[in-house]
Point group: C2
Chain length 446, copies 2
């Protein structure tokens, strides 16, 4: 059988590799538009910081590895331009030679990923304004950043914060513009305040509640104009979100969701049973709300790819959805969130309440213990834990993951307050911050 995969990033290569394992005799062909496959765009900011020595280090497995070791036919610099559902065929253009390549498929997997959301701002097409999704974007951005002195980052989401820090560590002056009054939309302001203080402390010029209305310049961008002022800059990184790359899917008439992402069942099958989709081009079920959401993150993309590849090759796997777990390092701060923020919970119709506690990461007498803030979002009626946000200087990530499991398992406040978490003075106080947070919010609910 022929399985054709469109897109060779996380989801696409996970799909291809798993399909081959499930059905070793299958013929797997991957078309990837850029020169890289199986790469980690999340590593780009760390390369800018000098922690990663070359873009090739951000590749998990090379094209050659997939071809020679895994028996997968990987074609980079190939852009799929047409899919014929009735013929079950794909047309790709070899971007080197310009030649057309035609292949037939039994099963097709769309892993076309996401595209940077281009904000609708005057002057956005000027030279010197960048977005970043893949390694080639990263290479271009890096080249210009090296020559720039003042860099504006538009958008205070996870990616915006990572690049803002990277530019600071490159010795640049960094202006961060965020339209809303706080960074990270999916977290509540009670927690993001701590993150904002950390950004300012490390020299980022933070402009909250400030909308960019125009980019100005002759040959290239020279000024950022906002509702509050004008700023001279050398370059701009627009980091205002991601949208599903749904071009091919839309042409095929596959069912799309309200965010423009492809809708699939839990087997990652689209509305055409011979076409699967996985990664940042699909919408997925939120395990708390049961609704389709668009939260494009790498772990889910990989897992969806694995499920799509397995099923396309005759296996039987399910992708249960996500709880929106995301973590990020902001200078010395560890930041994480999972489930719903209070705003998200209220928007979804829950009678939700939230409480933030401050505790310490280790026993009070053990040297080096740090402050840690835990915020829980709970449904008043069922006492179910809907979400959690944690910020601190250590011990954050493991606790966020623990909450991800707690939320996935539909646990209630009393379950968390009695959860058997580990204790040892170098790692945790005897009453873990998660348990304390559960106890405090339980008291509030009484």
């Amino acid at each position: 059988m022929n399985i054709v995969v469109v897109g060779g990033s996380a989801a696409g290569m996970a799909a291809a590799a798993k399909a081959k394992r499930t059905n070793p005799s299958a013929n797997i062909i991957v078309f990837e538009k850029t020169k890289y496959v199986s790469y980690a765009p999340c590593g780009i900011p760390y390369l800018f910081m000098g922690l990663v020595d070359g873009f090739d280090k951000l590749v998990y497995y090379t094209k050659e590895y997939f071809i020679s070791k895994r028996g997968i036919d990987v074609r980079t610099r190939h852009e799929v331009v047409k899919i014929d559902e009735s013929e079950k065929s794909v047309v790709a253009i070899d971007l080197e030679s310009g030649r057309e390549v035609n292949v037939n498929y039994d099963k097709l997997i769309l892993a076309t990923g996401g595209l940077p959301r281009k904000p609708n701002i005057d002057g956005i097409e000027l030279e010197g304004i960048y977005t970043v999704r893949n390694l080639e974007d990263g290479e271009r951005l890096h080249e210009t950043a090296l020559k720039s002195k003042v860099i504006a980052v538009v958008g205070g989401g996870f990616t915006g914060l990572e690049f803002a820090e990277a530019f600071i560590k490159m010795g640049k002056k960094v202006l961060l513009f965020q339209r809303r009054n706080h960074v990270i939309r999916s977290m509540d302001p009670e927690i993001t305040k701590i993150i904002e203080d950390e950004l300012i402390k490390h020299g980022i010029e933070l402009h909250l509640g400030e909308s960019v209305v125009e980019f100005r310049g002759k040959d290239k961008v020279e000024k950022v104009v906002t509702n509050k002022g004008k700023y001279t800059v050398d370059m701009v990184l627009a980091s205002t979100g991601v949208v599903p790359n749904n071009n091919l899917a839309a042409k095929l008439g596959l069912k799309l969701g309200s965010y423009g992402g492809i809708l699939t069942d839990e087997f990652m099958r689209t509305s055409n049973p011979d076409i699967y989709a996985a990664g940042d081009n699909v919408e997925t079920k939120h395990i708390v709300t049961g609704k389709y959401v668009y939260i494009p993150l790498a772990p889910a993309a990989n897992k969806m790819g694995r499920v799509a590849g397995d099923n396309a090759a005759g296996g039987n796997s399910r992708f249960p959805g996500i709880v929106g777990t995301a973590i990020v390092k902001v200078f010395n701060l560890e930041v994480g969130r999972t489930g719903l923020s209070l705003r998200e919970a209220l928007d979804n119709g829950y009678n939700a309440v939230a409480e933030t506690i401050k505790h310490i990461s280790r026993s009070h007498y053990y040297p080096g213990h740090k402050e840690i803030y835990v915020r829980l979002v709970v449904d008043r009626e069922t006492k179910r834990i809907l979400g959690g946000q944690i910020v601190g200087y250590e011990g954050v990530v493991g606790r966020v993951n623990t909450l991800a499991a707690v939320i996935t398992a539909h646990m209630k406040t009393e379950d968390l307050s009695m959860l058997d978490l580990g204790y040892s003075p170098p790692f945790a106080p005897v009453w873990d911050p998660l348990v304390v947070a559960a106890n405090v919010i339980e008291r509030k609910l009484k």
Copy 2:
């Protein structure tokens, strides 16, 4: 109402504090035999290492705090010698004055803790052989350790390892004797091998599979005799486990379990409805097996105390049991376990299988990533995850806690393989070690 608490360590003080919160007009009296209440014996090894500056630092809240700020009548250096069920009265001896104190109770809470298990070895009564449970034990042990050059630790459990490391950091020569062929009974040898290598690397003379048969000496211990040899030592720490301090409970005829611990319901009520029990003197339900077990650890003791105190004062809380989560630092290694080991699973009649994987703690390209080993124990029939053991140089504890939640929630391998765990290069690879371990064992089960 009068609530009398016997024992002022973790469980007792948690019970007293919660009872007062639940019923502020209740009269709460705590009798504690030693001079300390609300202390952290787990901190003693770190004091020996020079990380904690004085035994008073290991006290969470002082007697004076409880009396003046919380309105709890705390009486240290008072030993309860008699309880009369029909009169509902308690007799305590003031160890300073020798006088008898009589009080009546409406509800009684037994929080008498555990006692060090004294191994049945010839010469165990010699001077220079120590056990440690409370801060006063720690003070005596410290005084002798300071004057000793060669110290034998008998028992390679969590506490034995912590003290062995502490003695090394005090500059002592340390011999660690472990009757079984591997350290930490509740972990499998596939994982403890890594811990044993760490102990040896840091200078501990490790004697595995070696039983101590006699202690010899004139005025004090001078030699440890095993089934394999004789060793000259200056002192001995016997760290061969804990048994429930069930003296008063046995006299009262309260129902005890097979480990000698008091049996309670989930409200922490003993077989006498006016008597509660909490902490290291009780047996508790294992959430995986549903059977009573005796795993005396501080987080459970605190939680049980809280539940007992609440209910004794008229509240309504439940303690659901434990999954046996335990973590420990062994030199530079982080070690943790939760649920059942393979041996425990097999002993409990499960058709269990285990698999150990090696992965890295962060993205491969992010500097400082460390090896991490994850072992999962799974029931072949239901695919339910029964237990997990993790060892590595970072990122262990949070993953153990995540597994604790996974196991408490009765998740299966496919749930863990699809769990939405956080990803960011400084903190985790995109396929988290927990997810990889689940994928690997899933493949084995097919």
